[in-house]
């Protein structure tokens, strides 16, 4: 069997008394897009930094590209691409100079960097901005530049920590499109995100993290099948009708959630459920029928409470 690109077993990370990552297990195969999904503070970024060989694990087993990050960090990082959550481009320098400076840290010759730079800028659609300073670039452009920078050493594994957080919808789609193309080229991607649509679009497999633990694992489709129903009904009622309808709703649903402004009804056949409720005199002011998404899985697993 081919050894997994990244293996974590019983991996933990403590900051003093606080446990950021609590005894997690995962395996990432070559060529797949693997997601770490979770609310803020779930331990995603800490896990990323351990895989990126810039943060020593407190305990557990971790292998990246078959090597131990604690002792072979230099060799690992030479073959990784990292797209950090926080923009740490050099604002004073030009787009090209940023790529040149970063590429040189990998000991890539200037001539090779020049060649690679034109390809990469083409790839992230920044060719025209080659010589402009980084500071005035838009958030989306900066993010694309960081992605290009992370690819300068032709990494086997690209680690992206919340690659589209803070971007507008157009910019997000451009980034997704580029990442999808990288996947087609066989680059293994590890992505953290709290955007469900992002995970659903990009990830072959993902783990859901909450409070430092992995609470679920699988493909987006398998996770939806396992933790949610095929369909979801969102019904809104006049003031007191909601409480009166609840006992009836519970009988036709696999699972329900009674929220202040609406009822979420999880069912495998929405049309049938609507018909049955209507026959029993349940008349909401509005009904929304939709397919289950990862968001339903996520909220079920990590709860609706705001985590701060």
């Amino acid at each position: 069997m081919v050894e997994s690109l990244v293996v974590g077993r019983g991996l933990s990370k403590n900051f003093g008394e606080f446990t950021a990552v609590d005894n997690i297990n995962f395996q990432i195969q070559a060529g797949e897009v693997f997601g770490f999904l979770g609310p803020n503070g779930a331990g995603k970024s800490s896990t990323m930094r351990m895989i990126g060989a810039t943060s020593p694990a407190t305990s557990g087993y971790l292998r990246v590209l078959g090597m131990d990050p604690m002792t072979q960090g230099v060799k690992i990082r030479a073959r990784l691409g990292v797209v950090p959550q926080e923009d740490n481009l050099d604002r004073e320098l030009s787009v090209y100079e940023n790529l040149l400076t970063y590429g040189r840290y990998f000991n890539i010759s200037r001539a090779d960097i020049d060649l690679r730079t034109s390809e990469l800028l083409e790839f992230v659609q920044l060719s025209e901005r080659r010589d402009s300073r980084v500071d005035p670039l838009s958030g989306g452009m900066k993010r694309r530049l960081i992605i290009a920078r992370g690819l300068i050493n032709q990494p086997e594994l690209l680690i992206l920590d919340e690659p589209t957080t803070g971007l507008d919808p157009q910019a997000r789609h451009v980034v997704w499109d580029r990442l999808y193309q990288l996947k087609q080229e066989g680059v293994t991607l590890i992505i953290t995100t709290h955007y469900m649509d992002e995970a659903e679009q990009l990830c072959d497999r993902l783990v859901v993290m909450d409070k430092g633990r992995i609470v679920a694992e699988g493909s987006p489709k398998a996770l939806i099948e396992r933790y949610s129903t095929r369909d979801v009904l969102e019904m809104r009622f006049e003031d007191r009708d909601q409480e009166r309808a609840m006992p009836i709703i519970v009988k036709v649903a696999v699972r329900t959630e009674n929220l202040p402004d609406k009822v979420m009804i999880y069912t495998d056949n929405a049309d049938e459920a609507v018909a049955r409720l209507s026959r029993r005199g349940v008349h909401p002011i509005s009904t929304l029928i939709r397919r289950s998404t990862l968001e339903d899985v996520f909220l079920r697993l990590t709860g609706r409470q705001l985590i701060e």
Binding site: T54, L80, N88, D90, L93, R104, N107, N153
Partner: protein, 258 residues
């Protein structure tokens, strides 16, 4: 061809420096000129008018020029080691980008020290040229003090890098600058022999590497005998550099590999 990793950091520093060199040229040349004009010629005229037993037949300009050369290297080193480390971690964040490549915190530190060493060689050589132009010393003697001044600067560069990595708040940094750099400069022995200080202050002035550097430069340029043996002086500066390097390595690792 593979370049050693710390030199890749030096290369990056140089690339960044090319964007900001104009400002440093001004301080490199203007600082020695201003100091020698104001202190050496201005204040010096007043001092030299009264012959005194402390300086003997050495003019005040000749007396302070070597001291200022050492003290100036100290100032350059402190500036070049404190803010770059600070911003590297906190504002420019280039240290975070660098450690996600094959570079290690140790490489960043070694690279920074090599870069500061090069800068100090330049700044001290410029100072030597100004000393010579002012007629405070022969060119050869002024130039011979460049290694001593550079070593003085290095004795401050590494401890300062350690402090800059260790201190959490910017306001602490500003306070440190305000309340320690100026006394270090004033009581380094550059402006007057430290035996003129009140007795309780003398040992404090001797702890600072600045005084040892000033003594060395003065010995080389105007042949004033050293208070301590030459290897004690050199050893003291080297020890400060080594201790600071060790501490800075620890602090940078602690801050960056979290």
């Amino acid at each position: 061809m593979t370049t050693p990793r710390p030199l890749l950091v030096v290369e990056a520093e140089y690339r960044f420096y090319r964007r900001t060199w104009r400002g440093t040229v001004l301080t490199t040349w203007l600082r020695p000129i201003l100091f020698l004009v104001a202190m050496g010629m201005g204040l010096g005229t007043l001092i030299d008018r009264n012959t005194n037993e402390i300086l003997g037949d050495i003019g005040y300009l000749a007396f302070i020029a070597p001291g200022l050369m050492a003290a100036s290297a100290m100032q350059t080193a402190i500036t070049e080691s404190s803010w770059p480390v600070r911003t590297g971690i906190k504002w420019r964040k280039n240290y975070w980008a660098q450690i996600s490549t094959p570079l290690t915190p140790g490489d960043l530190l070694t690279g920074l020290m090599i870069w500061i060493f090069i800068r100090l060689l330049f700044v001290s050589t410029a100072f030597a040229v100004v000393i010579w132009i002012f007629g405070a010393a022969p060119f050869g003697k002024a130039l011979a003090a460049v290694p001593a001044a550079t070593l003085t600067g290095m004795a401050f560069a590494s401890p300062m890098a350690a402090l800059a990595a260790w201190i959490k708040e910017d306001s602490t940094m500003v306070a440190l600058f305000r309340f320690s750099i100026i006394p270090l400069f004033l009581f380094s022995g550059a402006f007057f022999p430290i035996d003129q200080l009140p007795n309780f202050l003398q040992p404090i002035a001797m702890i600072s590497p600045a005084w040892h550097g000033v003594e060395l430069c003065r010995r080389i340029i105007i042949d004033i005998p050293l208070t301590l043996p030459v290897w004690t002086e050199v050893g003291y500066l080297a020890a400060a550099l080594a201790a600071g390097w060790w501490a800075a390595g620890r602090q940078l690792t602690r801050r960056l590999l979290v």
